[in-house]
């Protein structure tokens, strides 16, 4: 006979604190650390951490589509490009950054819904191929639509202007990116504790059972595509301001693959995995270069190290730790808490 109080009031994920559970102290420490970084660094590492936030936002989008709803997409870069160019255009014609960001989010979401229409009938292999093709086509369109995108030459992105305020400083972009990343994280977490997220997981695991439970599969898939595109569009808009210059050759299949590799190494299906994966994606190539530099004399800027690092890491994870860094962190956490917890849950 289970205790009445145990289930309803004891359900952990209904509160923010509950969502974090035992990770709360670590999470708070990390938040504080993130908040004070600009006081100590202003150059390279500040911008690296900014990119962690930006890739995390795009990663949450891909996680929702792939990790939750089970829809393979090899074309996320197209949505980032859409977000970047839409916000650049809106700002260029003088409508301001907030509108630019909003347009980036909503227009890209619309693009995602458009892609969803044919995608609803495709699965697995063909969906992957179709999204990959979509990515190539968008890349070419960006290169040819010179009136809007400036073509292959690219366009410079001026600082964000909010009235008379100018948010061009790296630390400002840093805070903006992380604030938005945390909002996106919260929204993604909300998905998992409400019917819509559970429905996505259901579709991923068994469409037949999902339908027989009353889930309208097409509608939920469309939401997944739209949401994932919206987040990617937001990431694209932020990306353009963080880099200061965008061109079509930044939004190639290489970026789509990077995002895919990121959430796989981080941990497919988990939100913490997205953050871990983003850290891996941004930080590890630099560390790897430094490491190699210790052995080779001087020349550390060697092309080919990045794909080697990602390729080997991906293969390693898939063979030996398919649940990614997230699973490793969970194990470490259990080991650390083991002696103190004194028993299961």
């Amino acid at each position: 006979m289970s205790k009445k109080s145990e289930l309803v009031t004891g359900v952990r994920d209904l509160t923010l604190a509950g969502l974090l559970g035992r990770q709360r102290p670590v999470a708070i420490a990390l938040l504080v650390a993130l908040a004070v970084v600009p006081c100590f660094h202003s150059g390279y590492w500040l911008s690296q951490l900014t990119f962690v936030a930006i890739y995390a936002i795009a990663g949450f989008g891909l996680q929702i589509l792939l990790g939750f709803a089970g829809q393979v997409s090899l074309g996320q870069a197209a949505f980032l490009a859409s977000g970047a160019y839409v916000s650049a255009y809106v700002e260029r014609i003088g409508l301001g950054a907030p509108l630019g960001f909003a347009a980036a989010i909503f227009l890209t979401a619309g693009l995602g819904l458009l892609v969803a229409l044919p995608a609803l009938r495709m699965a697995g292999l063909y969906l992957a191929i179709a999204t990959m093709s979509f990515g190539f086509i968008v890349e070419e369109v960006m290169a040819r639509w010179t009136s809007v995108t400036g073509g292959n030459a690219g366009i410079a992105i001026p600082a964000i202007k909010l009235g008379s305020l100018s948010l061009g400083q790296p630390w400002q972009i840093y805070y903006l990116s992380w604030a938005l990343a945390l909002v996106v994280l919260l929204i993604s977490a909300n998905l998992l504790r409400t019917p819509i997220g559970r429905a996505m997981l259901a579709i991923r695991d068994s469409e037949i059972a999902a339908r027989s439970s009353g889930i309208r599969v097409s509608r939920i898939k469309a939401v997944a595509f739209g949401l994932s595109a919206a987040f990617a569009g937001l990431a694209g808009a932020l990306y353009s301001h963080a880099i200061g210059f965008i061109s079509p050759d930044q939004f190639t299949i290489a970026m789509s693959l990077d995002l895919l590799v990121m959430i796989l190494i981080g941990g497919l299906g988990t939100l913490r995995g997205v953050l871990l994966g983003a850290v891996f994606l941004v930080v590890s190539p630099e560390l790897f270069q430094q490491l190699i530099g210790l052995f080779t004399s001087g020349n550390t800027e060697v092309a080919g190290l990045r794909p080697l690092l990602f390729g080997v890491s991906l293969i390693f994870v898939l063979l030996f730790q398919p649940d990614g860094i997230d699973a490793m962190v969970t194990r470490i956490g259990e080991w650390v808490a083991g002696p103190a917890a004194g028993g299961k849950r």
Binding site: G124, Y126, I208, P322
Partner: protein, 292 residues
């Protein structure tokens, strides 16, 4: 009219390259249900191997080409033995991501090898510059050889699968590996042979492509265009892959000639999306029927 035919012929020649890479995709997918994203990289590896044997070691073209194809074939079999064998039973998506990782590694190794790196190399074929002319139509000897080789390879494969015991065994494992193994077919070894053949097809494509488009580490992207070819032909049909490749090659060539700039680069993908929009499971696909 002449110009049109000219484009068709040169398109068909490039299409053969796509067809060979697509053949590799389909061979592996038919037997193992794996979508090998590294197929394009195997093609690139074939081109670099040929460059090494022919230019760096100075071997005759034909010998170098054969050695290149053979070594990449062995590489494909080794990939299967070492890595892919361990993933038997895991989800298709996981195995697909493994091939993505393998592709990354192949590309990075090519970029890191001192003799290769990120430069572009030329690998002229012995027939460079020679042309045949048929009443106004000019066919370069390179293209002619490609078409002839393709006809040879297709015939050889057809005879192989239809009339040899090995070919029969491979068709058996494609349809039902478990039953085949009960009947005494060495399924494991056959999988390695499938990977070797698929890699060989990609390498041959690389050798043929090299004189046309030079040898460089980003060649694998051209191989991705073989995916529309495979889907067009029906992802499980070998003749379909050849036909699909030719169609994609010809469409591309015509697009380059008649359409505005840039359409040529994405023509293959536009065709693919059009096909999938009408038939979401490929031209000859069957709907997934799950029995409950």
């Amino acid at each position: 009219m002449i110009a049109f035919l000219q484009q068709v012929i040169s398109g068909a020649a490039v299409g053969i390259v796509y067809a060979l890479v697509a053949l590799g995709f389909v061979m592996v997918h038919k037997s193992t249900q794996i979508f090998n994203f590294a197929q394009g990289e195997l093609m690139m590896l074939g081109a670099f191997a040929a460059y090494t044997f022919i230019i760096l070691f100075g071997l005759p073209f034909w010998l170098g080409a054969i050695l290149a194809i053979a070594s990449v074939a062995v590489f494909g079999a080794v990939l299967d033995r070492l890595l892919l064998r361990r993933m038997v039973g895991t989800k298709p998506f996981t195995i697909f991501m493994l091939t993505v990782g393998i592709g990354f590694c192949i590309r990075s190794i090519v970029m890191l090898v001192p003799m290769w790196g990120t430069d572009t190399y030329s690998l002229p074929s012995p027939l460079q510059g020679r042309i045949f002319s048929f009443g106004g139509l000019i066919i370069s000897a390179d293209h002619a050889v490609i078409l002839a080789t393709a006809a040879l390879v297709t015939t050889a494969l057809f005879l192989f699968f239809r009339f040899t015991r090995l070919g029969l065994a491979m068709r058996a494992i494609a349809q039902n590996p478990l039953a085949a193994s009960y009947l005494g077919v060495r399924v494991d070894s056959l999988f390695s042979i499938v990977w070797a053949l698929s890699a060989a097809a990609a390498a041959l494509a690389g050798v043929m492509l090299a004189p046309l488009s030079f040898v460089h580490a980003d060649m694998g992207q051209i191989g991705l265009k073989a995916i529309p070819a495979a889907v067009l032909g029906g992802f499980d049909s070998l003749p379909g892959a050849i036909v699909g490749g030719m169609i994609i090659g010809i469409v591309e060539s015509l697009a380059g000639f008649y359409c505005p700039e840039g359409v040529k680069d994405v023509a293959a993908y536009v065709v693919l999306l059009l096909v999938l929009a009408v038939k979401p499971r490929g031209l000859f696909g069957h709907p997934d029927v799950k029995k409950v």
